[in-house]
Subunit: 519 residues, 2 copies
Amino acid sequence: MTTNSQTRGEIRGRRRRGRAEAAPTPSRDVNYRQLKNPFPLMEVFPSDQIADMHETALRMLEELGMKVLLPEARRIYAHGGARVDEDSEMVYIGRDMVEAALATAPKSILCYAGARHRDFTLELGSLVFQPGAGAPNATDLVRGRRPASGQDYLEFLKLTHHFDVFQMISPQVEPQDVPTNVRHYFTTQAQIELTDKFPFFFSRGTPQVMDCFEMLSIARGLSDDEFRSTAHSYTIINTNSPRTLDIPMAQGLIDFARYGQVSIVTPFTLMGAMAPITVAGAITLSHAEVLAALVLTQMTNPGAPVCYGTFTSNVDMKSGAPAFGTPSHFQASLAAGQLARHLGLPWRSAAGSASNLNDVQAANENQFGLWGCLMAGATVVIHSAGWLEGGLSVSFEKMICDAEVLNMVAELCAGAQAGEAEIGYDTALREVDPSGHFFATSQTMERYNTAFYEPHVHDYANFGTWTERGSVDANHRATGIWQNILNTFEPPKQNPDRVGALQDFIARRTEEGGAPPES
Amino acid sequence: MTTNSQTRGEIRGRRRRGRAEAAPTPSRDVNYRQLKNPFPLMEVFPSDQIADMHETALRMLEELGMKVLLPEARRIYAHGGARVDEDSEMVYIGRDMVEAALATAPKSILCYAGARHRDFTLELGSLVFQPGAGAPNATDLVRGRRPASGQDYLEFLKLTHHFDVFQMISPQVEPQDVPTNVRHYFTTQAQIELTDKFPFFFSRGTPQVMDCFEMLSIARGLSDDEFRSTAHSYTIINTNSPRTLDIPMAQGLIDFARYGQVSIVTPFTLMGAMAPITVAGAITLSHAEVLAALVLTQMTNPGAPVCYGTFTSNVDMKSGAPAFGTPSHFQASLAAGQLARHLGLPWRSAAGSASNLNDVQAANENQFGLWGCLMAGATVVIHSAGWLEGGLSVSFEKMICDAEVLNMVAELCAGAQAGEAEIGYDTALREVDPSGHFFATSQTMERYNTAFYEPHVHDYANFGTWTERGSVDANHRATGIWQNILNTFEPPKQNPDRVGALQDFIARRTEEGGAPPES
């Protein structure tokens, strides 16, 4: 490719000349920490059908009801006016209660991280990414696929901290070698000491949640009132579709609401299995379950921060296996977005892949699902990087590869201009003769250091050079990248007194036996 | 995953019951042959800046001019009122001539294929895909990367014919083992005998183009008037950016315009190299070059079908290597779409990848670029499958993998409904108890055979099953898929008389020495 070698020569020459007037290393001023969704919103259903879906969900809550396994939750629903049948544990919620809850649920949630430049706001129009979460297994090309360990948890946490485009911490893998009664100390301490991003706590019973809240208050130096006054942490609430709310999830909704912390309510439903086979039916079911959970949070503490959520894809009807990044998954995100806007609430959706390794299928499914979320106007996109096997594993290499795509999306959030300087009639277009080149125009000289996004894993070398370098594909290049990030990782500065107090708390609670998870 | 095995059992049972009432093999009635773009359009620049870019392009054509190497083209421009300097071969085109050309260029082009169900219309809002085109090399996992041969050309043609989502034939690879003076007989005969889709002819000089037009007229049984009266074929015109129109390209514009066939005008520009470093500057240059070519077609034959086009990405400023599927490539597509709508013309954009093999980078770049085209409202998306190394090779496996993504996009074109039947309060939601499943609801029974898109290369098997089957990634699964398509390929029915006449024509012209390409 003569053009390339020409270009290379030109650019080296220009680069040398350019050194004097421009920074030697490209520095691009793009803020990936607080993003606004720049993409136009897509609708899959006309608005009257969206209204019908909302109406049907209200009718479901009134006539079909939710099964709620936690007695305290049933008491709160009953006290709020819901009809409760204690024998069947069924709760029937009136539309007036839903409307009251929607009136108090905040439309905008300021999320306080460990440092002010990490704060962000959850509201319609903002865009937040989380890496793939909740997997029992970790996998990479060096160590293979294995049950996830504490070390895997820590390493994923460092990778999440490294990329600004992940604004929230997610529980990427389950540290299975840490005993369950003290696992929440391990994961909370790690989130406090290795990152200053917005942390996640599992809802596995009140004792664990109270421990986590106290640890975070110690680490942030907050009084009980100060902690309750703002969102410092979040949890994910998965209803048990269809129409069931289990004990730890109900406790989580109550605990996080009481303490003013964020619940992201996400029914995880598969069309044709635990949800109707149609997008409309599955999302109507999901919508009803979110509303039921939202009512519980507002009955517990009016104004408590709660985020609408959905994760709906389809099963393969030949095998029954879950599928992700499919057209139905895409349409489900669009429908959920329309319903979230119908309510005016911030909401989360999900990308993801069913592939068993970081291959072309994994890339195509993940990005296809991602664009569904982006065009649906999702506020939070979870499982946006690293998630494989429908959530049974998270891949180190896939996290690196997906972060490239998310960075490119973040670049698009910054937009572009076409003013006189960018069009450049005098500084570029008129400077170059027919069949000439633009390597050295005034406009190029001004901008060559910062014009374009520079990838971390994508490789633009031509076939010859790439072959000389060993013909390494993106998946294998990603291994060296995550290894380098881990080898050079530096955690954010800590307050030593608070760290000490945190460690004392953990030592004491561990001695007391910790807190086993609720089931 | 108990859910899965449960589901599998359930579904086998249901499938057995289902056999009686439903077709044994799922048949989904989705038409991929005539698509409308369902995606909302994204704008990268405000409309006043788009107007400024158009104004700047008009100023360029008036003040800076185009270098036109073909004397006949300069005569046509001069006869149409343009100021021509024969010594410098420069042509200066007034805005009045551009406005006159835009007034006669058709906004809608009916493209006649070899069979009526293959016809489609090029206009704003319609969506047409072409596989990757113009590569000197072919690559697959069985035979490796090699200079493309006639066999490669024929095999790619069969794969293109196989997938309905490719509505147009593209010249995927150059059959380098076929002599250049008879190569156009080989490629045209193949496009006539192996497919009934809309064919492509290179603009490599008037003699070759006249041969191709005559061959197609013979094959379609068309008189000269009938052939000229409708679009039966197309060519791609690449200007030599910046601001140069070479001899074969100028001849192609004139020949296709005279015969009422489609020219897709596509400046191929790389920001920072042969185009300005900014999206606004690069697209302004590209826009000016398209307008110059468009003026030539309309001066030659007012009303001649011409399609606006662009293919603008950026170079890597560190190495000078071309990059594709980048944020700047995405924004360039958006800007070109705004300018095409400013003119009201159908237009083509391009996806593509710089990767050297069918890996995760190739998948992510190609799909990222694809979404740029879709949200830009491109009428034709070229290089949408198989294109690697920035166009230096086309991959058999990548073509299969990308076709999966295009099929899923085509599924989204069909949309979805949320009527009473789809919401299914009585046929699904009310039929299932809390924590139950929807495998056997009335709604599921009606739809399980046709509810979801069924992938050809994506694999939903869980890790255990996938491992038992040999842990084959999507790239290697794709090999078996293209081999099977080729092994079972059946060309559409032919009229034996016309085939005979075509072969006689080729034999005679070959004996006469064929037609060497113009350069």
